[in-house]
Amino acid sequence: MHTLQTKHLTKHFDTVKAITDLSISFEPGKITGVIGPNGSGKSTFINTLTGLTPITSGSIGVAEKVELTSIVSNDMPVYGITRTFQEVRLFEQMSVLDNILVVTTCRGWFKSIFEKHSAYHLAIAEKVLKRVGIWQFHNKLAVNLSYGQRKLLEIARVLAMSEIGKAQVIFFDEPYAGLFPEMVKLVSEIMKELRSEGKTVILVEHNMDLIRELSDKVIVLDSGTLLAEGNANHVLSRKDVVEAYLGE
């Protein structure tokens, strides 16, 4: 069973061929590692699957039956797809707590005029912020957080989406970059938890030790094409893969 798959997915920016003819499927309860040299199209791949950049050609299959040739951002929660960003994106002028509450509470727009968050939503927010260890900063504005705290808040947001049932497929775009060792451990635990909950986890990461530790399957991109796909140890020992990395 596949929760998400791409068919001949292609994304070209004018002359830059960021993604060319990618047909890949992702499975629930698995962590798929996506690796490749800088500029190989990893982030672009995520962006096309999450409505940030329109697709040039090809299609995306979600929820088994639906076949999309374009996906807009508003659809993502509907299809249960969510993500983090390589360059963290938060609601900067809002408090840490509000960054999560606005996710957990938003239902009908009409109700939102009259409603405040309930104890239930507050409990979810508290839970996810405690999980990533930044609850003590919940009154701080997001813009005032440190680099690592910002990364953790973004992960907390993903967890909140998961708690309210809007995240089946989760993309992490280099979530470990710049984190301290103890935070790295925490994030790895969270990845494994999400896997055991049956989520489809896609992890873009440059650190091969983490890829080996976490990935059930690895996909290697090179210049926007699929270079290799398969078991982590097998793929990482392939000569062409090593060369693609060293040759960058």
Partner: protein
């Protein structure tokens, strides 16, 4: 000789009040959509002309709405609703389409300039370019004296409206989930979408609220001084200057900027010709853009 200062104060506060009403709506819409909505000015004019139509131009309607004070209030309400409706439709049939296409800010600006010009032309066609007033004759104007300055009943209503709308809007945006959603859209619209905020519905409502406030501003200008089809641009520019010097995207900032602008304009022409008013207003804007581009109150 009696001092002119109290009257200058009164004039400043009244001008500031009108600018504040325009700034409140403009700021709200700008905060959520981040584009320079030129049509905001003509929507104010539409509010004013709607009231003009039902209380002055169309005789059978006028006899109904002019019966009593209640009729006048009802007419104002219809004017406000009409402005809100035009704002809603503009968003639905123009700005939303552009957002869907991820149009550049330049396209938004040109499109809103086009819509502005069309709507203004419609007003001129329907109502001629002649100056029209909404109020009755000069004889029955009720005035109040405050600290030696004279203000009319309409002007008192302007000031009360500004304070009430500012407080209600400020508290509503701060406390409600809706306000938080607006804030989220303002910070990062893409992320707001992917976390499931109904961005388009919320932006629609923001247009309705913002345009309603603009409509009220236009109506009050109509009662205070009068209406012209071209009044929109002047009002808009003053509202925008107020928003920028007060702090764009900030409810209280826009109002603060509006009153500052009112005071600087009116005291600026104390000893010189009134023609200088606009030059002073834009001079103030330029000073702020250079010295404090984020405005008095940051968002």
């Amino acid at each position: 000789m009696e001092s002119i200062v109290p009257q200058l104060m009164a004039n400043s506060i009244i001008a500031g009040g009108i600018y504040a009403l325009v700034a409140l709506g403009f700021n709200l819409i700008y905060g959520a959509t981040k584009f320079f909505n030129l049509t905001h000015g003509v929507i104010a004019a539409i509010g004013g002309y709607t009231v003009f139509y039902i209380t002055k131009k169309n005789d059978s309607l006028a006899s109904f709405f002019n019966q009593s004070i209640g009729g006048t209030v009802f007419a104002v309400l219809i004017g406000v609703l009409c402005a809100a409706l035009v704002g809603y439709l503009l968003d639905k049939f123009l700005y939303k389409k552009l957002r869907d296409r991820k149009a550049s800010p330049m396209v938004f600006l040109v499109a809103s300039l086009g819509a502005f010009t069309c709507l203004q032309a419609f007003l001129a066609i329907l109502f001629t370019s002649q100056f029209q007033t909404l109020g009755g004759g000069a004889g029955d104007i009720v005035t109040y004296t405050i600290f030696g300055g004279i203000i009319t009943e309409v002007q008192a209503i302007v000031i009360v409206s500004v304070v009430v709308i500012m407080l209600v809007l400020g508290i509503f945006l701060k406390k409600s989930l809706f306000g938080k959603s607006v804030e989220a859209i303002s910070d990062d619209e893409h992320v707001a979408k992917i976390v499931g905020i109904h961005t388009e519905k919320i932006i629609s409502i923001v247009f309705v609220i913002g345009s309603a406030i603009a409509g009220l501003a236009g109506i009050l200008v109509g009662y205070d001084t009068g209406l012209e089809p071209t009044m929109g641009m002047g009002l808009l520019l003053k509202g925008v200057i107020a928003s920028i010097i007060g702090g764009i995207g900030n409810v209280y900032g826009g109002v603060l900027g509006a009153f500052l602008l009112g005071f600087v304009e009116n005291f600026g022409i104390w000893k010189i010709s009134g023609e200088w008013k606009d030059a002073i207003a834009f001079g103030l804007l330029i000073v702020f853009l250079i010295v404090r581009p984020q405005g008095i109150l940051k968002r």
